[in-house]
Symmetry: C2
Subunit: 233 residues, 2 copies
């Protein structure tokens, strides 16, 4: 039973709240029974696994919690990255909010066979907030990394200004498809959008917001493209 | 210039972090230039409007911030509720996360003409987290309140176990439509789902999560139904 805050495992867990420490060690944490259970279900072995009351005094575990939720269990895992391939994947560019990155990891796990591919400027998918927002899908479906130019397949840019509306008819492209989504306000940089095979807009009402939240937009796009792939795009 | 933390306006702003105080006063706060700007754009007059450096010492405003973001401006507004009507609305039941409630308010503003209708067990849409997640749409499109039984129009329940898949063909119902969405894990209570005019599932891959996050599911449902209304359901 760990009874000292100076314990090396506790210090590691606390340290992994910082992006730099995650990058240096290649490790990350998952807090709570649901996430640790998702790791186990996906066959991941924890490097460290501390249960309050069993392995460590509860208040010491609370003190190293990144989410302030008083987790009963915290696991430390080695980061894994997937290959950027699949019939349908989603590429994120400059999506800096970890909650959005995690939410898209979950949506992609539910809706498509390929991973979330992270381009420049995206939040760390292994940050505590992103791991929590993924609701465990980060274990079943680890993310990939790639530049826009290296993406394999037809690139479909979500672009609020595009003339072609999502859902309005056949898109005339064949799988593999990569849905490309930019940051909340700016969208994809114009030079990338211009290189996409197709640009499509989610039809929005006049007078409303110019765009959906990035995670919402990615989820709607994946839903529509997944339906089209099963209906032969 | 307010220089005392005992100032009545500052105390009001701090008090409005609590749900009980919002219910008793009928007021709520919006923090930050974007939200205050959205209120102004929608023609809402603030009951109190404090700008750091102009009206109040910046560190005093920071101390009453609900979001801990060091807002430069905080406004206090009177809550408004809309009528539950429109060609397409969304009803939430037991959606307890304020971020999800706010996100759906934004998506509904972008995708449909009706409001978000809040049933029992939903988070307060006027909480600071919900207001922020709405990205200002709460001002342009205030929520409504209703019981399930009082909803006007064809009720379409999102139900992960439904045989009819969203996007697979005509739904055979006429507007007005109300998309009905339950809590993340439990979904709509079975007795309500049974009373819906139609139950549909978002098609998800086998082996993935059983459901999407409630806000994601509501957004996908609104997107699909909005497209169908414009294509005559």
């Amino acid at each position: 039973m760990i009874t000292s805050p100076d314990n090396a495992q506790l210090k590691l867990i606390r340290k992994l709240q910082r992006k730099k420490a995650r990058a240096e060690t290649g490790l990350f944490t998952a807090e709570g029974e649901d996430l640790v259970g998702a790791a186990e279900a996906a066959g991941w072995e924890a490097e460290v696994l501390l249960e309050a009351g069993e392995d460590v005094e509860p208040e010491l575990l609370d003190r190293v919690s990144a989410l302030g939720s008083g987790s009963r269990v915290v696991g430390v895992y080695r980061q894994r990255w997937a290959e950027a391939r699949g019939d349908l994947s989603v590429y994120l560019h400059g999506v800096g909010d970890p909650g959005n990155v995690g939410a898209v990891i979950r949506s992609a796990h539910a809706l498509c066979d390929g991973p979330v591919i992270l381009g420049p400027g995206c939040a760390d998918p292994f940050s505590p907030k992103a791991v929590r927002a993924s609701m465990g899908s980060i274990f079943a479906r680890p993310p990939a990394q790639s530049g826009f130019g290296e993406l394999i397949g037809a690139k479909i840019a979500l672009d609020a200004g595009a003339e072609i509306k999502l859902g309005a008819g056949s898109l005339g492209v064949d799988a593999p498809l990569v849905l490309c989504v930019g940051a909340e306000r700016g969208g994809l940089p114009p030079e990338l959008a211009a290189e996409a095979d197709l640009a499509v807009a989610i039809p929005l009402r006049e007078g409303g917001p110019d765009s959906l939240n990035a995670a919402m937009a990615a989820t709607v796009g994946l839903y529509e493209l997944a339906n089209r792939i099963s209906a032969d795009v």
